[in-house]
Symmetry: D2
């Protein structure tokens, strides 16, 4: 199963579950993967920044990826392979593909500045991992400080047949989706899948602009799947109603630094993983923050029964 | 009237209204100021980044500030005086205070890195503008790339008697408010006013953490004032209900680059200013974006009649 | 007298001389200008970063520029007009040109990232200052974090007839000069003057790659003029011999942060300005640093009698 | 053999030699190591940025480190273990120490800003690699954008008994050395070794300020060793004479981006490695640059016979 440009739906960014003592929690990997599969995910993405990839050594990283891949069975799994150098990237990409990954995701190093540098980087990365390995561009200027114009993305897509998807998380980004779909309409760029990140903060309008779905890690991936489905079905108001009900919590989860702590806390509360533990260094939720999240869950439960959780 | 550390409520970040041809629209300054005064503002802030201060020459900047100050009568007006050098900052600060400003706001230059550099910068700025000029620290890491720990803010406050207020827009920032209020509680820092920016995205919880209000520019400053008032009155659910109703639009307005275009568009739709025009270089709203904003206004109107605007 | 693309030689970056109490030292402006004129300068540049432009208010800045311009008589004077916004830039540019400047210099704001953003910025700047005002691109990635490819510079040059010169201080930069001269040779870019900055650290080879000279502020501008002259005359070894003799001191002066203190110290020692004083905030030389500079001057004097200064 | 705080002399930053086809050239590793050992090196550092560590996969990196360590016999070898996460860092550090390394070097990630973040990072890194593993702080703000004050370095040193050395490459940095040695003199910081990087550009004065030597990769490490030795012997003028003779080439080699290409070219010309090849992505020397380097070598040979190389 290889990633192609026709992917749609929701590829959750899977967190890596840990036990409180820092060991990888493989049972939670299985449980989480099952939950994704049964709740609308059309694929998943592992070893991203929010998957705490940097806190795993190389052996662990592969073990985690493999466990997700095996459990996900029919679902395509994308593995993050961003690395400081092409040798490590190529090595990880090969291992991931051998383990059954559908493709890999590559973020640009923060030192890139000019258009040519960005285009050149992806050309070299594609050569390093091998022309047959499908890859995803991660376009996240807020974190990576690398700004890709629509024209630069077009150059990368047209230069590299293995580029199948854009993880879109520019901010603002709605016009960028329109621009890219415009390139496809005027025949200057072949079609690629566009899945949106950025915590899902603009998913309601991103789908309307032409995005194919979401690739992000909000603790209610089932809501993301519903929104994408409703939007695809033309039920605009229903999509917005559901999205808006989640927005207060979703926005709270999107805070840099502590966002993953919020996400894991809610996922543990929902029973999707056993523990909210992160490996060090990890942001922790203080008492006040926990109470705020619980308050948001309570408010959300009035609109979405999935948020009605048993009291702690 | 001098700014002091007991300020509370909402100081809207006032946009600078322009005619379509780029001239300053003084009538809209008056109309906007009246609106603020009649709708809960307890002060206002002019010549901020979102006031397009950089697009005004020195004479215009002073004219704009003066017009707001005169019209605002009893309300304290803070004038942004951030500048590449202390001479220009001091010159603008003196002129603003002579014109009746209540205080000035100073952002750190993006080259500052270490704790000592930040503390030293504010010491020099305070000396440059004069020890008698009340000033506001603008703490906006996302834009300025300068990260101030709570401890650094404490040093600035304790070193500079004229520091009266923090414009808080760190992200995430809730724990920072708690930490600063904790310093006050344990007696290691004198009290300062904390007004929150960041487009208001976390105002619902910021007030609960101890912030005194908001200093931001959302197109419904009357809603911000209501939320602060409800929170102060202990009407927590009502505050969140109102805030949540606005959150989809507020979030849309907070997009970097085009946020001001959204804000001016809505303000013009509400009749607060005559035209959404920005001076160059300015982000513009495409047709799709306009339709999205109108859709959001329509949805908001179901909860808040202030958003029920006559069709365009 | 208007700047054009045929300029050559050395345009020293003039420091702004201050008295020890911070007042502008106009007599030293005159003395320094005379020295430049009599020692090989073919123009000069004022109100650059190293001219402490940020420490002057708008009135002072114009007074300083005017004093240099009047005294320089026949020499073209370039005035730095970089500013956070186009209104201030346009205002300063107009005033400078009215005062007799030959052209203005514009640095890109550090927020620019993509090729199109950079090209767009210069288009807007050129429109703001007026199509008839000759301007210089300042290309200094190390300080401004903006990276312009040769292709981007070509676009700026070709789009803007008033662009007459590049202040080249990319690092490394030799291949960039070759690339730009290559564009001229293949007819894809009209000729512009290229004067090199970067403290002069590579001037020996920059002239050989096709640069027209230097625009930098080393405390021996007369040496820079000699090197450019020798190189132009084909006396390669002599040019390098002189340059190499100065390199230990030149390198010492090029240290960020304290470089200007070194420069002003040596200029004061040479009698070109009355005092090494900088306005705050300014780097100061400690005792050790002063002794090191004196040691370097002593060593240099064995090769260049201009460095043989009377003991302090 | 464990690194301790009494190290002195020159620890060359060893390049990783490659064959033209990209394979690691193990014979050149041996030859280069022998050269270092026989020409004054007191230790060496491998897998630094200039060792193209990022272009090696994990297995290769360890093989390279091991080969250097075995060949270097009595000399202490420091291994760069900077990594995006602590798991990879710890894994590499353990493997390196098992292979006989004397210690490891850790650079701060470019996202660190505040004093506390930097101090906290080194505490976590020290915990991750193990309290018994001697480590070196790499302080290189120009590349890493992380600025450590002398006070921050003191906190790291005092908090972490295993911190034995500072690779000093702040710029400017002379006052920093004086400040750190001042801390030792006033008893507020225990002694650490300070070896200077930055291409050696200020080594002549760094030794005089109290640095113990150099850790950098200039193609004439034998010259660096001579300068350190002469300075230690009090032969100040002789040290500067030798240093100044090399400065034109040393400066040329210090150019970002192409510096390593210059270094490997000269090392290959000297016969220290078989080929100047870099793995991709690598800066290449054009014809003009090669001619410039040869010209510099020719000029240098007049003062230092080691630069008199057989014509190509």
């Amino acid at each position: 199963m290889r990633l192609d440009a026709s992917e749609r739906g929701v590829f959750p960014i899977a967190p890596t579950p840990f036990h409180a003592d820092g060991r990888i929690d493989v049972d939670s990997i299985d449980r989480l993967t099952d939950f994704y599969a049964e709740n609308g995910a059309t694929g998943l993405t592992v070893l991203g920044v929010m998957g705490e990839a940097g806190k795993l050594d190389q052996g662990e990283a592969l073990d985690v990826a493999r466990r997700f891949i095996v459990r996900a069975e029919g679902l395509p799994v994308i593995v993050g392979v961003s690395a400081p150098g092409f040798a490590a990237m190529a090595s990880l990409a090969r291992s991931a593909m051998d383990a059954g990954a559908a493709g890999v995701m590559i973020a640009p190093p923060s030192t890139l500045r000019t258009d040519d540098q960005i285009v050149g980087y992806y050309a070299q990365a594609a050569e390093a991992i091998g022309a047959d390995v499908p890859f995803v561009i991660q376009d996240y200027p807020l974190t990576f400080s690398v700004v890709m114009t629509p024209g630069v993305i077009r150059r990368i897509v047209n230069d590299n047949p293995a580029c199948m998807m854009l993880k879109h998380e520019d901010w603002p980004g709605l016009e960028k989706i329109s621009a890219l779909r415009g390139f496809e309409a005027d025949g200057t760029m072949r079609h690629i899948a566009i899945l949106c990140g950025n915590g899902g903060l603009f998913l309601d309008f991103e789908t309307e602009r032409g995005a194919d779905g979401a690739m992000t890690g909000y603790a209610f991936p089932d809501m993301l799947a519903d929104v994408v489905r409703l939007a695809a079905a033309g039920e605009r108001d229903a999509a917005h109603d559901l999205f808006d009900a989640h927005l207060p919590l979703l926005r709270y989860e999107q805070q840099p630094g502590i966002g993953l702590a919020v996400r894991k806390y809610v996922m543990a509360r929902r029973g999707l993983i056993a523990s909210p533990a992160q490996r060090k260094p990890g942001g922790a939720l203080g008492k006040r923050a926990v109470a705020e999240v619980e308050y948001l869950l309570g408010r959300l439960a009035r609109h979405d029964p999935r948020a009605a959780l048993a009291p702690v």
